[in-house]
Amino acid sequence: ENVKIALVVKSLGNGFFDAANKGAEEAAKELGDVDIIYTGPTKATAEAQIEVVNSLIAQKVNAIAISANDADALVPVLKKAMERGITVISWDSGVAKEGRQLHLNPSDTGLIGETIIKLAADYLPEGGDVAILSASSTATNQNAWIDAAKKVLPEKFPKIKLVATVYGDDDSAKSTDEAKGLLKSYPNLKAIIAPTTVGVVAAAQVVTDEKLIGKVNVTGLALPSEFKKFIDNGASQAVALWNPIDLGYSAVYLAHDLAVKKEEAKPGATLSIGRVGKVTLDDTNSAAMAPPFQFDKTNIEKFSKIY
């Protein structure tokens, strides 16, 4: 009997997660005895994700690897899953410590926070006003990155002034409105930082529409395939992201190792993630996969064909 590993995502249809699924399938093939169940709600809410997890528990899957819509709300149901003998890990967007055996960060939180500011600062030698357009106000990972960014600002980028943080809820219409509001309220705005693949596209489109290319730089985390256009037209100088394929691959690899090889997830443990390398768990049982990777005019063409 094959090992059933469920890859639960925040919402279906998102190109980022579809890419992660590719990686998951790749890992499954490599591991041989694994069936992947790629699932998630269509609307990115915790309640909907709980129903999905409940049905996975009923199907007696061997492992659940989840990118959570809410760090806390999913804890009870994931605990129940663990009680029924299911291996639970979180990846990408984490779950509080009690609700999973380990969490795989796509990258180091502090590093991401620093990177998104650096992406803006690199093109603002004189400094200036920047604003953040985030996803939903409840998104765990975005909030962690923004906190990290705020922390490094005073020491490393004293000339950069963060004037506002707004939320587009990963909804393109809302993100568009918020981006427009930013441009109106802060006429001196030099950059919009959107650490979310939906928000960054919306912001870049707004900057293009308002003919502010060259005046306002859009940056943040973006999928090259979705974002190439805005690097090409100059609305954005550079964005960053990690490789979602690797992320999906690693998540499945870890879940498999915990479920089948009965590896133990404990602080300090070092676990293998196949072709991607090795990770070491910190004292919250979290690990970071790889540093974020930067895309600009020089390489976007190539990567837009991959993910």
């Binding site: 269509t42 707004v166 109106k184 489109q205």
Partner: protein
């Protein structure tokens, strides 16, 4: 009564002016003609949708499926555009209208032929149409990347200094104005709302008129589908999720009576504009976005209270001396 109706719209217009005034005390540039033009443009889609919803509400029905229709039609044209960028935009718009019409006609047929209350029918199709979008697209999004420059650029092109999107809204407003005040269909729509039984006795085919009304809101949904997708340059299953309530809220603020028969094109447009201004203004006057929801909620409640005040019947006056006084 005619004068009274105008009265109501004048009130709403006054409220809007006051609102703009208040905002410009905190953010002077808001009242610039250029900015107001942009607010109009930003609100165009909501205005168009509110007009489509208005004709439905006037007949004592409701269309909860408009946002889902928008989502589905938008996805169809986005996918078509992605697959065949050569299809000219006018043809795509016609396709969007046609798809919207079909979805509207399904609602209309169920309401007309099976006599199911419209709120039930459209509560059902609300989820069905959105689900169908998922099935159609396999859940995948269509991104800016896959859309042709014309697809995105059409509504942004300026004509006489005003974007095409705004022109489309103006055209739709004009069409609805003629429809509601100058055509037999428009008058039948009012009559049905005022008194459905009397309408039957008057020879109006109530069922068929409701069918037509749903077709209209369907077409509007289709049009808004294209406009929405090309404006926000992403087509996904979540497009305009929950937006049906904004559309209804715009109608309500515009003084369209949910009990049917009362309301006007001007009201719907102003109602949409009111909501548009609020959502436009909040970010610029530095009110935390978290206040936005509570503020628009309060605005809706206030508008209903005021409208109800206006609608409240004076009662017929029997006493001479009161009449004289």
């Amino acid at each position: 009564m005619k004068a009274f109706l105008k009265y109501r719209e004048i009130w709403l217009a006054a409220a809007i002016i006051v609102l703009v005034g208040l905002i410009s005390t905190r953010f002077p540039a808001f009242a610039d003609p250029g900015n107001l033009r942009q607010v109009f443009n930003d609100t165009s889609i909501l205005m168009i949708l509110a007009l489509g919803q208005m004709v439905v509400i006037l007949t004592r029905s409701i269309d909860l499926s408009m946002a889902s229709n928008l989502c589905f039609s938008g996805m169809v044209v986005a996918m078509l555009n992605a697959a065949h960028p050569a299809i000219p935009i006018p043809l795509l718009i016609v396709i969007a209208l046609a798809v919207g019409l079909v979805l509207g006609a399904i609602n209309g047929l169920l309401v007309w032929r099976l006599n199911i209350p419209s709120i039930v029918v459209t509560l059902g199709t609300l989820t069905i149409y959105r689900g169908a979008t998922f099935v159609l697209s396999g859940g995948a999004w269509v991104n800016a990347d896959k859309m042709s420059p014309d697809f995105i650029g059409f509504q942004r092109a300026a004509f006489l200094g005003i974007p095409v999107l705004s022109w489309i809204a103006i055209l739709v407003i004009a069409l609805f104005f003629v429809l509601m005040t100058r055509t037999a269909l428009g008058r039948s729509i009012y009559a049905i709302g005022v008194n459905p039984t009397a309408s039957v006795y008057t020879g109006i085919d109530v069922g068929r008129t409701k069918f037509i009304v749903f077709c209209i809101s369907g077409i509007i949904g289709g049009l808004a589908g294209y406009l929405w997708i090309s404006r926000y340059v992403i087509a996904s299953v979540e497009v305009a999720n929950g937006y049906e309530l904004n559309i209804i809220a715009a109608c309500v603020i515009g003084g369209i009576s949910i009990a049917g028969g009362i309301g006007s094109v001007g009201g719907a447009v102003l109602g949409a504009l009111f909501l548009g201004i609020i959502s436009n203004a909040l970010p610029v006057i530095n009110i935390s976005p978290f206040w936005q929801m509570a503020i628009s909620g309060s605005a809706i409640i206030l508008a209903v209270v005021l409208n109800a005040r206006g609608e409240r019947q004076q009662g017929r006056i029997i006493l001479r001396k009161v009449e004289a006084a």
